[in-house]
């Protein structure tokens, strides 16, 4: 997979098919959780898939609080996971 169709997740390249959201690419790679809750450090990731539940938050190019299920993947994006839900 070339860099043209990958973004990075915590520094590691993750391939995607153009048109997929960040969450779709993560789920396609087998990941369903990528952050933890503030209180109980419970894992969270994909749940509602349509932007309602906010479980799937990631940081994209330095901007936190992004719903991975709504953000279209673009080549070269730098996604970091492991957000705790501090607002």
């Amino acid at each position: 997979m070339t860099a043209a169709t990958a973004f990075t997740v915590d520094g590691e390249p993750l391939p995607f098919i153009p048109g997929q959201t960040l969450a779709a690419a993560l789920v396609a790679s087998g990941r369903v959780a990528w952050r933890t809750t503030r209180g109980g450090q419970r894992p969270r990731g994909i749940f509602c898939g349509i932007g309602v539940c906010h479980d799937c938050l990631v940081t994209v190019d330095g901007t936190g609080g992004q719903r991975a299920c709504l953000v279209q993947a673009r080549a070269g994006m730098a996604v970091t996971t492991g957000e705790t839900d501090d607002e």
Binding site: Q20, A24, V32, P43
Partner: protein, 498 residues
């Protein structure tokens, strides 16, 4: 897929929205209702802005990848009623070419306001997310067609990774071509579970069980709406055929009552047969290995933009409140219209008919020249009545099992965001006399997190409120999170962008 190049779907950066072109109607939501409403309003001569947060028109029901990806992310076989979708898209494309339609995709509307001469709609353009560009739209008429989202009832283990909403599984598949997991169990109630199961099975997942809480005989108590909607039979038969071909067992009067995880993902689902009141029957519990679970208990109308505008609500008959509308889809706020699931959950065919009826009301109220003939309008209204009757029967045949809280343990999280447990919610009710979800929120923080109670609200409501009270969502001043920068800019950019 050999979809023709279609300007309505064209992606790429678009220039700032300018108000030098006057507009008659803003439609928020490009699902079945919003597409149909926009098409009818455009055909009647109005200038329309159609806004949607998605990357392609279609909403959740007709969710598609963005146009540039429709060759590499094929959706063949995943959709129902595509003939209507394609016709609506063709109509919208034609009007976009003439400049009468402005289609704003990847635009998230975060609030609306009523002005003397109409409505102001505040959105952010997230085409280049996480970048946000504020966009302000104004029009004398506003039509909200924001749909619905899956209703959830918590159970022990529902917050394990690999447990999704049924709609979430469907949106990953329709929008991103992704089958989540290998062994899937679906549960909840309502006809929506069947297309999700059929789609996943057809794309190679092993759907181990579909657990439908309702009894199949419940349908037989409502023969008239069933007989008057033969298209629904055909649709159900198609899904039934797919499920039979893939040997997917549908277990009725059965619910997912728990899930257990292993190495950070769901590994086992516990199911049980339900008594008449919905409580699990002792001795009927089964353990099913699965790496993915999809759950949905019907849907909750998405009223975030409607509530702050002050329109009246009405009991939708399925435990939720919906927008009160007259027979022309007018809300109680002049100039504000709504169609589809926001008027009570009833499916895409109903949404399309309501969208058309709503647009005719807009045309009438704005004295537009192009009203459709009376016979066509009468036919649409008859379709609305027929589909509404079907939706009411569906709601009665697929109720929430009254005793569902029996499967909660005290440590089951009810609010996923703030991790408030069933025990905490119950003691807020028992010890502090909280009798609605707002009081529970103040006492426990349930509903105070990122999702603002959209996920836990209906469940908290069931746990503390009187049985026959429908769920009234909390009013949220901001419908979707926006950056402070976009908030600050939205006032100033009005003159530039509108």
């Amino acid at each position: 897929m050999s979809e023709p190049r279609d300007p309505v779907m064209a992606s790429g950066p678009h220039g700032p929205v300018t108000t030098s072109e006057p507009r008659d109607l803003v439609v928020v939501g490009a699902g079945p209702a919003g597409m149909a409403a926009a098409a009818t309003a455009l055909d009647g001569g109005l200038r329309v802005v159609l806004v949607d947060s998605g990357a392609a028109p279609g909403g959740q029901f007709w969710r598609h990848p963005p146009l540039h990806a429709q060759g590499t992310l094929p959706t063949a076989g995943l959709h129902h009623g595509l003939r209507t979708y394609r016709a609506l898209r063709a109509t919208l494309s034609a009007h976009r070419r003439t400049g009468r339609l402005t289609l704003l995709l990847n635009h998230h509307v975060w609030t609306t306001a009523r002005e003397d001469d109409g409505f102001t709609v505040h959105a952010v353009d997230r085409t280049r997310a996480p970048e946000e560009r504020p966009v302000v739209l104004r029009a004398p008429a506003l039509l909200v067609a924001t749909g619905a989202y899956d209703r959830q009832l918590p159970f022990p283990g529902w917050d394990l990774p690999g447990v999704l909403t049924a709609g979430g599984l469907q949106s990953l598949l329709k929008g991103g071509g992704v089958v989540t997991g290998r062994r899937v169990v679906l549960g909840g109630t309502g006809p929506f579970l069947l297309p999700v199961a059929a789609a996943l099975a057809a794309r190679g997942a092993e759907v181990v069980a579909v657990c439908e809480a309702a009894a199949p005989s419940a349908w037989l108590r409502h023969p008239v709406p069933l007989l008057r909607n033969p298209a629904k039979w055909a649709e159900a038969a198609r899904y039934g055929g797919t499920l039979a071909r893939h040997r997917v067992p549908v277990r009725t009067r059965t619910a997912i009552v728990g899930a257990e995880g292993e190495q950070g993902r769901v590994a086992v689902v516990r199911t049980a047969s339900l008594d008449v009141d919905g409580s699990p029957l002792p001795g009927t519990e089964r353990r099913i290995e699965a790496d993915t679970v999809g759950v949905g208990w019907g849907f909750v109308p998405q009223l975030d933009l409607l509530l702050p505008l002050g329109c009246d609500l009405a009991d939708a008959g399925d435990g939720t409140m919906a927008t009160a509308v007259d027979d022309g889809q007018r809300t109680t706020v002049p100039g504000l219209y709504t169609a589809g699931e926001t008027c009570g959950v009833g499916g895409a065919a109903l949404a399309v008919s309501e969208g058309r009826v709503a647009a005719v009301s807009v045309l009438t109220d704005l004295s537009a020249p192009g009203l459709p003939n009376a016979r066509r309008l009468a036919a649409e209204r008859a379709a609305v009545a027929r589909h509404r009757a079907f939706a009411r029967a569906m709601a009665q045949a697929h109720p929430l099992p009254p005793a569902w809280p029996a499967w909660l343990t005290d440590d089951t999280p009810v609010c996923r965001c703030e991790e408030v447990t069933a025990g905490a919610v119950r003691s807020a009710h028992a010890d502090d006399a909280a009798s609605d979800h707002r009081q529970v929120k103040q006492l426990t923080r349930a509903g105070m997190g990122w999702c603002q109670g959209r996920m836990c609200g209906p469940a908290v409501h069931c746990l503390v409120s009187a049985r026959d009270q429908p769920y009234v969502p909390a009013e949220r001043l901001i419908a979707t999170p926006v950056t402070l920068g976009a908030l600050a800019d939205s006032g100033e950019t009005t003159s530039d962008h509108t």
